[in-house]
């Protein structure tokens, strides 16, 4: 028998086998010990920096343009109306447009998604833009909330003429007369294509004149595609496939 074919005595150390079989299992935890639990970090996002896009539901990438678009169009239309209402008489001082007081009742979510903490943010965003525009004078939200609580009227009940008069009268008693009620409503429509789907979000602003009940309406729309994989998203955005 050649020396190479001779079996090793059991007690003799076979280095390669020892390394392969003996140390390998023990090395696993040692190597793994290098991997520690990751930490969570945060950063301040700079203006103009790409914002995150909600992968499963609407986020700021949806609501911010909707609010910007709808509020800007509505205010633009009423700025024009205000300018037209001011007549010019020779020798007379031009009259400033009358201050129209607007009561922003609230944001109603009728979409398929629970918008969670965005609701308050949408309210505050719309309210701030209206106030900044100087087209309307907005009634402070705390007065609006107190008025609803005191009258026990639901926002949707205010469109009934009797309830509208009650609410407007109560607000006037509190020193907060109102000319308009403003409602914001978020709706959505979903179109499915196998495991992907498209959701169209619409923000509608409804402006109701308290005295006459006439109303104006402005909508903004944004569509968003939700894809189950990167490949699916690439297919949807691939210019070659158009």
């Amino acid at each position: 028998m050649r020396p190479a074919d001779r079996p090793h005595p059991p007690s003799q150390l076979d280095r390669r086998r020892f390394l392969r079989c003996g140390l390998a299992p023990l090395a696993i935890p040692v190597l793994a010990a290098a991997g520690c639990r990751s930490m969570q970090f945060a950063r301040v996002m700079m203006p103009g920096e790409d914002a995150m896009i909600g992968s499963h539901q609407a986020g700021q990438e949806t609501f911010t343009p909707l609010v910007n678009d709808a509020v800007a169009k509505l205010l633009a239309r009423h700025v024009d109306a205000a300018v037209q209402q001011v007549s010019y008489e020779e020798g007379a001082e031009p009259l400033p447009p009358p201050t129209r007081r607007i009561c922003f009742v609230g944001v109603e979510n009728k979409s398929a998604e629970d918008i969670g903490d965005f609701k308050e943010q949408i309210y505050q965003s719309i309210d701030s833009r209206i106030l900044e525009s100087s087209v309307f004078q907005s009634v402070n939200r705390r007065f609006v909330d107190a008025g609803l609580r005191d009258t026990r009227l639901r926002p949707d009940q205010l469109l009934v003429p009797e309830h509208m008069r009650t609410f407007a009268g109560h607000m006037e008693q509190q020193g907060q007369p109102i000319d308009y009620l403003l409602y914001a409503t978020i709706t959505s429509g979903t179109t499915r294509e196998n495991r992907d789907y498209q959701r169209d979000y619409v923000l509608t602003l409804e402006l109701v004149e308290v005295g006459t009940g006439t109303y104006d309406k402005q909508s903004a729309e944004l569509s968003k595609g939700y894809h189950h994989s990167r490949l699916s998203r690439w297919r949807a955005t691939n210019p070659l496939a158009q």
Binding site: P10, Q12, D14, G22, L23, P25, L26, R152
Partner: protein, 508 residues
């Protein structure tokens, strides 16, 4: 323990509470085997009975060779030091008992002692301490503790390869505890309740976090093939309920309230008032003029806990696999004489059924279950048990593989060193304990009741009832203040012994 049994020398080593490692030496031959200890008695006869049953015809595994006791016993003795650590639940049993009999001070003292002894389990102990602190009438302190645990769990639930690997060489207790899924959700729910009985400023945020956490837990478990073991989880209806009542109080966001009450109806269909809440949010108003609402929250009964159980079918299968592999590989593997241990949720809800609320002679009603914590924990365990057992089997495989690798590396196919390694492997496997860490002072159910009352101060008489509606103790008077169109919150904990600590309320 060792003793002589006529012609045979038997060495017995306890492997945990319910099994023995038995070494029977007869005619200079060692027979290694395992036997379970029946019942709770540990009289000598009962202990010896399973040992003497390990005759060649019934033994689970034998390994014959000439052996020297002087070498084997010290090896075993050194390794068996690893075994027999008391599980978390056994250590926490006095705390649980004190709390359930209403002795808040003793429960707090015991937890404080545990906190001093076991800083590694600080987060887990803080969960129990928060419940004690809440019962003691200090919701701000309880909220602070719960917030700390929430943040810590969020960090610890990140994967740690080092801990995962180490747990493969020891047991699941080596991994930092980051809470069962139901505990992660409930810690936020308890935060919301603790905050509501103070100023309530953060309660809405907490209620959003509860819903969000539930959603993320289930979403994260989705597998590429579309299956999701956590899809069967019972959702915590308390979360949308809290959000519903908070949004309803705005008198403006009734749409949010209706949406959330609809979730309550969907998730907890047997919650009686669910439909009424949904209808009121859809069509009605928060309350009549000159009235406010009192929301009573009762944490009722004794919550679930974890006990260590032996997975005997899996252990037996693994033992057979050991023998098959030992034959095929030409060398022995450590036999699976130590059973695979896994934690099992045990529901022991106790007798407390609900809390009756009365004003003077008028019985206003009693609380109803919005979230059944024991059921939720059991359903979660049902969904995850296969994964838990699989992890235990994988751990055994790693251990056996390591022993096999060492034997191969050193060329130990038979002889005393090989046997010593097998014995060491058995002891290594026997050192495993099931991970019974859990939030032990949770209630069995969270119940609620809505009460519309005129503006002013009212004295409510609160009385814990058993499951048959019989009183469990004397009624406790509690004064609440009701403001026009506002919510008032009342929180209490009730066990078989009556109320634990005192009810808490806020000033609207």
């Amino acid at each position: 323990m060792s003793c002589l049994h006529e012609k045979h020398s038997i060495v017995l080593f306890f492997l945990g509470k319910r099994s023995l490692l038995v070494l029977r030496f007869a005619s200079c031959e060692a027979v290694i085997g395992e036997a379970g200890i029946g019942g709770s008695s540990r009289s000598l006869g009962r202990i010896l009975a399973p040992a003497t049953r390990l005759l060649p015809s019934r033994r689970l595994h034998t390994n014959r060779l000439h052996v020297s006791l002087s070498l084997l016993v010290p090896t075993l003795a050194a390794l068996l030091v690893l075994t027999g650590c008391a599980t978390h639940m056994i250590r926490l049993q006095p705390v649980r008992a004190a709390f359930q009999r209403g002795d808040v001070a003793e429960a707090d003292r015991l937890i404080a002692h545990e906190l001093e002894q076991r800083s590694g389990e600080e987060e887990l102990l803080l969960l129990d301490r928060a419940m004690v602190t809440l019962a003691d009438g200090r919701p701000a302190d309880a909220e602070r503790m719960l917030r700390r645990v929430r943040d810590s769990f969020d960090h610890l639930e990140e994967e740690s390869p080092a801990e995962d690997a180490w747990s493969m060489l020891s047991d699941d207790g080596a991994r930092a505890y980051h809470g069962e899924d139901y505990e992660k959700v409930l810690v936020r729910a308890m935060l919301a309740l603790s905050n509501l009985v103070q100023d309530g400023d953060d309660a809405e945020a907490y209620s959003l976090q509860v819903i969000d956490k539930q959603r993320r837990i289930v979403a994260a478990a989705a597998k590429p093939d579309g299956t999701n073991p956590k899809a069967a989880y019972q959702q915590v209806a308390l979360a949308p309920y809290l959000r519903g009542i908070i949004r309803e109080e705005t008198h403006r966001d009734y749409d949010d309230a209706a949406r959330n009450f609809q979730l309550v109806v969907d998730w907890q269909p047997d919650f009686g008032p669910g439909q009424a809440h949904r209808a009121r949010a859809a069509e009605g108003s928060h309350s009549r003029r000159g009235h406010g609402v009192v929301h009573v929250f009762a944490l009722v009964g004794h919550g679930p806990f974890k006990a260590e159980v032996e997975e005997m079918p899996t252990s037996t299968s693994l033992l057979i696999a050991d023998q098959m592999l030992s034959t095929q590989l030409g060398t022995t593997l450590p036999p699976t004489v130590a059973p695979i241990k896994v934690p099992r949720i045990v529901a022991a809800p106790g007798a407390a059924g609900s809390v009756q609320v009365a004003i003077g002679d008028w019985a206003a009603g009693q609380t109803e279950t919005i979230t059944d914590i024991s059921q939720m924990a059991l359903r979660q365990q049902e969904a995850l048990l296969p994964y838990c057992v699989a992890r235990a089997v994988a751990r055994r495989t790693v251990k056996k593989g390591t022993i096999y690798g060492v034997k191969q590396g050193f060329g130990m196919r038979e002889g005393l060193p090989s046997l010593a390694l097998d014995v060491a492997g058995v002891a290594w496997e026997a050192s495993e304990n099931a991970d019974t860490r859990c939030w032990s002072l949770l209630p069995d159910r969270i119940q609620t009741m809505r009460l519309e009352l005129p503006v002013g101060t009212h004295t409510l008489l609160l009385r814990p009832l058993d499951r048959q509606g019989q009183p469990l103790g004397q009624p406790v008077p509690q004064t609440v203040t009701v403001a026009d169109g506002r919510n008032t919150y009342l929180l209490m904990q009730a066990t078989d012994a009556g109320f634990v600590g005192r009810p808490l309320t806020n000033s609207p």
